[in-house]
Symmetry: D2
Subunit: 364 residues, 4 copies
């Protein structure tokens, strides 16, 4: 193996491609916080900025006040646990993928509100009508089994794939038939809607779901997610926010941020950038003959690499090793974001290219 030292600048810390929340907020958002800082506002979400943000989001969704209410919470886990706890009776259960964020990344937050999770294997990172049907059939032993009542999915999925309109409308129709509510976790809904694979609008997401949320944290905000709740499920929702510590006294700080994200198309512009950076990394891998573990649809790249290349990359970049393969290779996850520096991406790609070329030369 070649032992060239690729790194020119030992002093600089490795650049993170670990996740999409390593930086603060988009500058436009911080400027808005500064600009609005000294006005006095009503507390607990009744402020002008939150109200404006709600109106802007409704316009993007293309729905009226009579159709949906919008609530802001500080974190994705809050959004999920409050959404679920708000619409289930104590004996009702949630159907989720085994890989669902609520199933394996939220420390039992849903169960802590008293609800069972029914786990379903993913196909391409996604829920299918077939698997949903099967899960329903296997959970019908009344009254010994908790009653399935809500389907939870994420778009983009945990592995970065996206639902097509046909897939989501089919799931939605099946849910109605099975008397299931549908909750769409939108922690990365911006990248989903900006994916080249996407054929949906925010309105489609709204139409096909009962509750969905729009992630701000991973989309350029300091924090904050906007939960869109169909009117008939919105009664008393604010009590849930309060009870779970998610009703901030200075609700304005989420209002101000979502105004910035949605008054023009900043939300989508930033998601587009994240996707473009992932695409650039992904294309380079493909061109150089490295095997993608999944097609790159949004801002996550899953690629299988030789251990040596990974170690070299780790000198200058930080990222998750997702899985150790039996053949000695490793599958790594690379995440881009609204803040990802294209120069760093170019450097990353150059390194991969350089190592790959050297490796081939050495092999011959």
């Amino acid at each position: 193996m070649p032992s060239t030292n690729f790194c020119q600048d030992e002093a600089c810390p490795p650049y993170s491609l670990m996740d999409d929340y390593s930086e603060g907020a988009h500058p436009q958002i911080l400027e808005a916080l500064l600009r609005t800082n000294s006005t006095q506002q009503v507390s607990y979400g009744g402020d002008d900025y939150s109200n404006t943000a709600r109106q802007l989001i409704r316009e993007k969704i293309n729905c009226t006040e009579d159709e949906a209410e919008i609530f802001f919470v500080p974190s994705g886990t809050s959004a999920n646990l409050i959404s679920i706890a708000s619409c289930l009776r104590p004996y009702e259960a949630v159907i989720t993928l085994e890989t669902g964020h609520i199933a394996c990344k939220e420390a039992g937050a849903i169960e802590a509100t008293g609800h069972k999770l029914i786990l379903v294997p993913p196909v391409d990172g996604k829920m299918t009508t077939t698997n949903l049907q099967k899960a329903m059939q296997q959970n019908q032993f009344f009254p010994h089994m908790a009653k399935p009542r809500l389907l939870y999915i994420s778009n983009a999925s945990e592995t970065g794939t996206v639902y097509t309109k046909r897939e989501l409308s089919n799931l939605s129709a099946l849910c109605k038939q099975l008397n299931l509510l549908l909750l769409v976790d939108g922690a990365r809904i911006g990248t989903a809607l900006c994916s080249k694979k996407n054929d949906m609008t925010l309105h489609d997401i709204f139409e096909y779901s009962d509750i969905f949320w729009i992630g701000g944290t991973k989309a350029g905000a300091l924090m904050g997610e906007a939960i869109v709740v169909k009117k008939q499920l919105a009664e008393g929702f604010v009590f849930h926010l309060k009870q779970h510590g998610a009703l901030l006294a200075k609700g304005r700080i989420m209002g101000v941020q979502f105004v910035e994200l949605f008054r023009d198309d900043l939300f989508f512009t930033l998601a587009g950038h994240a996707n473009a950076m992932a695409e650039k990394i992904s294309a380079n891998f493909e061109k150089l003959g490295h095997e993608l573990a999944a097609e790159t649809a949004t801002n996550q790249v899953f690629v299988t690499l030789p251990m040596d290349l990974v170690q070299r990359l780790q000198d200058r970049f930080r990222f998750y090793i997702w899985e150790q393969l039996d053949d000695g290779r490793v599958m790594v996850r690379l995440v881009t974001s609204w803040a990802t520096d294209e120069m760093q991406v170019d450097k990353f790609n150059a390194w991969v290219a350089q190592w790959t070329a050297a490796s081939k030369e050495f092999a011959t």
Copy 2:
């Protein structure tokens, strides 16, 4: 009654003395968020700023890493419910004043984690050892009564009074004797420690309690409270944060803010300003012969006023009417904060003086 129109500037909106969270953050805090915005940081509270903030707070408390761990959460309700849920077994109950924030302002958040509240009447807004003893005696019918296990108090109290060192040390000693943990809600601990009535330090609060928290939201931050947990109760605490949606991906935003509050004495300076503004309002009332409903120790003024004066004030100021008295007068609550504009306070005081003078003249 005189009908002079006091208001010179009809266009300006009324100035709020409703609460201490009507504005955003102190400019120095926003500037720090801007300055640190683009550095990449580890997520979920492991960032450099949070670590620095923890160290600064420990220095102010005068304790070591081996004595206490510090966690940041986005809201006071989060701080209370997580602190309580983290250290009680399911059958254990909380003793609180009837007026305690957890008893009447958090939408049942503590009960939602499964724990009973045992209510005790306040004396001067505070818990007394006598009343605590009595509550313990009345809750000993094993196993039919939930077991009292934690005393919850707030400093400053809900009515703005503060505990003396003697009072807190006595409560603390009694708690130890009764096998009770002691949690101090510090949503307004800055104003308490800056009160002219105060004879405690942060170290005293730490020493006498098992868990206490330092409110950022009411002290000039956008949001965020710092929970100080004695080492022996800190194991697994992070799981609780995560499970309740209080572990922010960009934990840095709370770290950065608490660094600013505690690297010099901004936290105390701002609390001192709030107290001074309340003192000014309070002194004016006293001088003019209006009856204070409680001595003004921190940033809340409770005063009993004629309805006519209240209505005139309402043209230019917003505040809570706390209680309608039988004699036609009303008790109002006026809250000042780090952001309270002294010019507005002067204007407020002038109005009160003017009305009072006119009223006396009219009466004679």
Copy 3:
């Protein structure tokens, strides 16, 4: 003070007037368990006996299957916690007397299902419309206070008093107006309906409440309470039973017992006996000039006695000392039941009479 030894038979253990569950079951009930023992039955409450019991209870209530469903649970705490958990949303609270069984004798069982209790002072052991109104007014600070949604009362009350038809219908009407559900804890509903103070039928209880339950444990059964749930609240109720461990595999054992209690009027006959025994004790006290702490309406006698008399009685009888009075006397509670032996009551009364006479003689 006379020191005559009243006790003739030192060997016999003291007779208990502690509670109404010191014995097993009425013999007719045990015989029915024996008689039906070997038939095979469907499990989990679907057995013939449970179905017959449901039908018999509906006949006594005078309601149809379309109006109410009936469920059997093993304990009063189960009945209360399941009834409440089944019809409240997470942020909804229960209004109860401070002395309510759920408030101070169930180890926080209701809070363990996540719901807040709002405490109201009793008048003559009962809830009044005035106090209910006041509690509602004090719990309306949206969304910071949990939303009151259910009124819990007991008939007979914790102190043995009973609601009149007028009182219950007024409470019921007020509940409807305030959008509150009404739950009647009927642990001692038999003695309430057999009280000389009573002017209600089971049908009245049914009509005025949304859920009520008929206590078997204190009425001659080994265990078991029958919860009567208005149809519109009954959907999914069985899931709650199962989830809380109250759906017994051999549900038949509760069915068989309730068949015996309700196929003739055993339930009421036994309650009548309990009341008669209490009345006898109570009347004797009054005749002898001892002060009742409350009028005796059901099977509990609260009486204030000199300590010396109490100590003498304690040689031969077991009962609770309810309260130490400042004048040296004590208030004791004496409870009779379906199983109370009239000979023991006569002996008790004779002792009281003998002591009182001797005491008077000594005093003169």
Copy 4:
């Protein structure tokens, strides 16, 4: 196919082999309830019978009062949910087989106490150290995953298999190493310990677990399970019983029953009968060439049969069809119990033999 009508007595209802709780209690138990019925006893589990039962069980386990406390609850779901809730902190999770009773037959009772279940695939109906290790490895992403803290297994397992001493001691050792508590659900522990496959004593179960329970309901009692809790986990356990409605006022009824089950060896005699009846059914199937779906170790027989035979049997016997196979055959479950009538077993076997013979004859 032959169409002989096997049934001679059309009038008799089909005999149930559905479960092991279709009858009441063993007569000796009912007689004991009668015999002890009128003595007055202390309530809530402090009665003489419960204390004697505790002592008898400790003798069978061969442990002292200092080593274990014993509590009686009315149902298996109560036993599981209380045992688990009593020893976990809110963020701790339970590892269980996918087929575990708590995972799929208790309507989400464990989740309703706030705890996550981590599901593991069974091998021969049982947990293996390999699968346990793997589950641990997959649930270590601190603090985003709930912390695994308790292993739940059942002996006999849900499919009637039993753990060997080696298997249980290995699991126990691994649990200690991984800092997991071990709970053994003993709903059918009698049949497990009486299995021909068993090489353990009650003492072994006690030694290897932290909490285990002895099922009374399926072993000849009307209801009632005895939870054996190692001393260090027993503090406050009674509060849990009370809070979950499982502390019966007349705790004596469980005490009396367990005295009968354990004062001689009635508990084991009855389990032995159940196993013998299953063995007889199972052996007949094997002799006649029908395929067992699992080896018969306790009181459950899983056998794969032609649909025609199943339909004939259904005229006279009730049992569960467990699974429809693709080849048209069905897998059925037959459950025997302490109450199973050997004449009915003989009749069942004769029918199977007769049909099988006729079927073969017809085939040739």
